[in-house]
Symmetry: C2
Subunit: 406 residues, 2 copies
């Protein structure tokens, strides 16, 4: 009988956001009159900016004419986009990253799930706790996480780095030595960001131990001021120990358009193998390029008009974050994040569990959040809200919360 | 030191089409005056049809307005597309496949590389020889292929099913019992198609042994007449043993737009595990949906106008195939395929190897083919040409070949 991948059966429950979506649908069906405010999934709501829409129309026109039609894209992305990325996201910040170190993809979710394929089955991973579930789930599917203990809500081969109010949501360096360290800053779900010093500490640690850091910078566009690094390549030594994952979803509203990229520096070598060459091979063998029209849309993000328009759009979401933060604080909640990030990390009141608080908000205020425990054991007792809703919904949500009896 | 995936180092050379592209670029640089005719990579050249272009423009408009903007797509694809596919590609042919058994993706290359993740590391694969390289390479990266022997050009754990002129390019049932059987019909690269009887034979075999068939039907739109099945679900018993992979690349020219889908029937269970549920989990965890605008483009393919337009487009490519086939036969070559398929499989004359013949065509006629040996050991001595070029190039290529001295 054909053997199946037995690691799938070890995964607890379903993918977090699928569960949240199912519960929301069930509630809506039972209460068709309820006007649900969706602050759960981190999905944007503002339309694509005009520079992007124009670029899409132009590229669609090209695809409709024989002289300008484009078939298969280069595996690793069109040069026009890779050059715009290298210049706009890295060289402009003094980071030494070239266009040929950029690998364009259909989004950071795919990349963050696929990147583990470069490593051996025995590699041990360390993750922040709480954390975006894809890092752990993708490694669990590859058999790297050991066994899941539903009591502790932990995998026995994963090294968890707690991020709690007590440590200011800055994880300590792991005590057990990991091979792969997933870091996300500004962090999903806690909405907090690593300082330059803290991130440099991880780079130095990886430099000493030989670990590889997988740095997810999907939310970098929300960083304010100069204190927080936007890229791990702002840290000294990162070219030899770090891979960076980037997304167009949250900075330019591409969640439904799908575009992301991964940076694998040429200097990143382990056991004599170039991870750059390996990812190139992986990309070339298992992926066939992001759509031409979407790559042109991505290019438009880096034009002066595109930059001005997405800055304004992000500003709108940051206003929402402020509205949520201030509203929650006024209502007496303990709340973190929401400054360098579109996420707010809310302590459940009265000792409620995450799912209890999720149900409470859903049934008493028709507000959809995401239970913190879905992001890891240290997320228990918290709930994530996102600032990606509409402004009026953010205001309305805070009115409902202010009037909500607990 | 962080362990890398050692299976990558076992892969021979680079991905076939990357090598072909590099050699072509080197030749073009050395001979800037040469007018290269590219009949190598199976990439389409005709622009997207008007129904698709209109659907794209409409969907782009929607993405630019707040009321109609769409964020994350449903993981498994929009219902409008899954319903159009189930009705148009399956129910219209009497195949019992429902919309919820369709998983929309960014293309059949990704799906055919990722589908192996559902199976155990010890699963043994059988492939046609010659074959599309992604099936073997993706399994080699997962450690399922054993060791590569460069002398024999074979992996020692792969079961090869030779497809040669001698057996009419219809593989015999494997002698050693595989767990996974990759079939592609109409086949890439040989351009030949499995008869209904031959395909039913494989389904019956899988029914008896418990093997799972991974059926790649990317080229089904080129099938003529009623004798050759378009879908494996036209065969009795396939719902319990077969997964089908489909592409919009070759039927609607989406190579640069990226859209495909995989059918995993609910009845497909191995060792108590539903492969349907596993693929759903895999898709939900590692993929974030195909772009909304591209899914709308896919939907347009199933409208009456879309169908008429793509039929005409495919007719043009089929004309090219006829031009190539007749031209090659007139020039005295032994040629296969090109009837139910856009590919022609050409025997190298005078005992040349595939790469020798590749160089010969490149340097003497500035024609770019793909060496048959790149598709597997039984491809040695053959070369693949594609009918996806422009008509005038197909005509010119045959003129050059007619005048070429060997």
């Amino acid at each position: 009988m054909t053997p199946v991948n037995e690691n799938f059966a070890k995964l607890p429950g379903s993918y977090l956001f699928s569960t949240v979506a199912r519960r929301a649908a069930a509630y809506q069906e039972a209460h068709p009159e309820a006007e649900l405010i969706r602050l759960g999934i981190g999905d944007v709501t503002k339309p694509l900016v005009p520079a992007v829409i124009e670029a899409l129309h132009r590229a669609v026109e090209e695809m409709g004419r024989a002289e300008t039609f484009r078939g298969y894209a280069p595996d690793l992305g069109y040069a026009f986009l890779r050059e715009a990325i290298a210049a706009g996201d890295f060289q402009a910040r003094g980071c030494d990253i070239g266009p040929d170190e950029i690998f364009v993809s259909d989004g950071a979710k795919s990349d963050s799930a696929n990147i583990q394929e470069l490593f051996g089955p025995e590699a041990r991973i360390a993750v922040c706790d709480p954390v975006y579930p894809v890092y752990v789930d993708s490694n669990a599917m590859a058999g790297r996480c050991g066994t899941y203990d539903p009591e502790k809500e932990k995998w026995d081969r994963v090294i968890y780095m707690p991020c709690t109010a007590e440590n200011g949501f800055t994880p300590a360096l792991p005590e057990e030595e990991p091979d792969l360290i997933y870091l996300c800053s500004p962090n999903n779900p806690t909405g907090t960001a690593l300082s330059r010093q803290a991130l440099q500490g991880f780079v130095d640690y990886a430099g000493r131990t030989g670990a590889v850091i997988l740095f997810d910078a999907a939310y970098e566009a929300y960083i304010e001021g100069e204190e927080i690094p936007h890229s791990i390549y702002e840290c000294e030594g990162a070219r030899t120990c770090a891979i960076e994952l980037r997304s167009f979803s949250k900075n330019a509203g591409f969640t439904g358009l799908r575009l992301g990229y991964t940076v694998v520096p040429r200097d990143l070598v382990r056991n004599g193998a170039s991870l750059h060459a390996m990812w190139k091979r992986r990309h070339g063998t298992k992926f066939n390029g992001a759509p031409y029209i979407v790559q042109r849309a991505g290019e438009a993000v880096y034009t002066p008009e595109g930059q001005a328009q997405i800055r304004a759009q992000i500003g709108g979401y940051k206003d929402n974050a402020r509205i949520l933060r201030e509203g929650l604080e006024r209502a007496g909640y303990q709340v973190f994040g929401g400054v360098h990030s579109p996420y707010l990390w809310l302590k459940a009141p009265g000792g409620m569990t995450s799912w209890e608080f999720f149900d409470c908000l859903l049934t008493r205020a028709s507000i959809l959040g995401t239970p913190g425990s879905g992001f890891g054991p240290s997320g228990e007792g918290y709930l994530r809200l996102t600032a990606f809703g509409r402004r009026e919904d953010s205001v309305l949500a805070m009115e409902r919360i202010a009037g909500m009896e607990l």
